[in-house]
């Protein structure tokens, strides 16, 4: 069974920038709106609680249409029934995660420049995320936004599905797609929207 094509909107759930919706509610709204990928990212709770939530989200998605990726933790991804794991530069390596999760798992890696993006690709990841593209308040950042120019440059050199992340909203999304991103990762644009499902729907429509 081959892996499906990765394209479209990628929601990273966030309950620290807002407290109206839980991770499970946000994932549900996104899947209903046609979002292909959801990343469970929660650094503020016990593994026991995280595992419960991951399992609940895994139960919501319909096979074939929806994917669930867990941030940082191959063990929680495997035991929670997720489809894969997203790894930062300080996390376990792509090859170790692949060994733990098996061939079928989707493994993505973070990069902040072309050099890191190439390393993620060479390590055998299934997608590479580049960011942050614009200013963002979801994560503390130690460096300046990468901008559309870097995204365009990385696109020329990377064959893997390319995820653009950081500060992406409905208004600036078209130029990110034009610069060659296959996938737009968003957090606050959906999580902090008045109506997350509707906000997700509008973003999904950019790819239709």
């Amino acid at each position: 069974m081959g892996k499906q094509k990765l394209k479209g909107i990628y929601l990273i759930t966030d309950t620290q920038g807002q407290d109206r919706y839980s991770h499970v509610e946000l994932a549900d709204a996104a899947y209903r709106a046609g979002v292909q990928m959801v990343q469970y990212r929660a650094k503020d709770r016990s593994d026991r609680k995280a595992l419960e939530e991951i399992r609940e989200i895994a139960g919501l998605k319909s096979k074939g249409d929806h994917l669930l990726i867990v941030n940082d933790r191959p063990d929680l991804a495997k035991m929670g029934g997720a489809d894969g794991v997203h790894l930062g530069q300080d996390d376990l390596s792509v090859s170790v995660a692949a060994r733990l999760l098996g061939e079928e798992a989707i493994i993505g890696g973070t990069s902040a420049n072309l050099e890191e993006a190439k390393k993620v690709e060479e390590a055998g990841a299934d997608y590479v995320a580049l960011g942050h593209i614009f200013e963002t308040s979801t994560k503390e950042k130690e460096y300046a936004p990468r901008g559309i120019t870097t995204l365009h440059k990385v696109r020329q050199e990377i064959d893997l599905p390319l995820v653009a992340i950081g500060g992406i909203r409905l208004e600036n999304a078209p130029q990110v797609i034009d610069a060659g991103a296959d996938i737009l990762a968003v957090s606050s644009a959906i999580c902090r929207a008045e109506d997350p499902q509707q906000a997700a729907r509008k973003l999904v429509e950019l790819f239709e």
Binding site: S46, D47, R73, D75, Q89, D90, D91, L92
Partner: protein, 218 residues
């Protein structure tokens, strides 16, 4: 639980001293890895790598170095909180905090991992047993700087209550010096655990030998 299953289960826990690491503890003249090596060389049979602030990548790298040492001495290695890292470095087991992934879930994917669980109450001790933990770590029994956040020492009487209630081996932790070993064993502990007693010892080999005398075996 039938007797045979109980025996098989308890064979996984064949150590009486459980050394918990803190890479910041050894004095500057000796490195962390040298301290672990000296403890293993002196006969310690089980080490828990507990470096909760390290991200996965660095924990994996450090874990591989510790695994190399523990393998040389046939010492069991446990990784705190990260079943994935434990599995990836070929550790013998994982040590779960109270809010960790349930042992039964870990075992359904990686049955070869031996699982210890930290408990601070009867409720969690009972839950851990139902969830197929292999042993428990209870504390803090005595005062210890590293466990201040868990509040006041629970004391030897609480240790006795937990040990009586649970059929799992219980290790006492928190301020355990060689002098405190006998009271803990009398209270029903299977063994004892500690960070500072050995990690900060001036003479690691001598300290391990003091624990061995009090415990009967390491």
């Amino acid at each position: 639980m039938d007797l045979l299953r109980w025996i098989v289960k308890n064979n996984r826990v064949d150590f009486r001293y459980y050394l918990i690491t803190d890479r910041r503890a050894p004095s500057s003249s000796v490195t962390f890895l040298e301290t672990i090596e000296e403890a293993c060389s002196a006969g310690v049979q089980a080490v828990q790598l507990r470096e909760k602030d390290l991200p996965g990548g660095l924990l994996y790298d450090l874990g591989n170095e510790v695994r190399e040492i523990t393998n040389q001495y046939d010492t069991k290695l446990f990784v705190n909180g990260r079943p994935d890292v434990a599995k990836a470095i070929g550790a013998d087991g994982v040590h779960c905090p109270e809010g960790g992934i349930p042992p039964s879930v870990i075992k359904s994917y990686w049955p070869d991992l031996t699982i210890g669980v930290s408990v601070h109450s009867e409720e969690v001790a009972e839950r851990a047993e139902q969830e197929e933990a292999d042993f428990l770590l209870f504390g803090p029994v005595y005062y210890t700087a590293s466990k201040v956040k868990y509040g006041e020492p629970q004391g030897i009487d609480r240790l006795k209550e937990i040990a009586e209630q649970s059929s799992l081996p219980v290790f006492a932790v928190g301020g355990i010096t060689p002098e405190k070993v006998t009271p803990c064993l009398q209270a029903g502990a299977f063994g004892v655990a500690g960070i500072s007693a050995i990690m900060e010892a001036d003479d690691v080999t001598e300290k391990v030998s003091e624990f061995e005398k009090k415990l009967g075996q390491l």
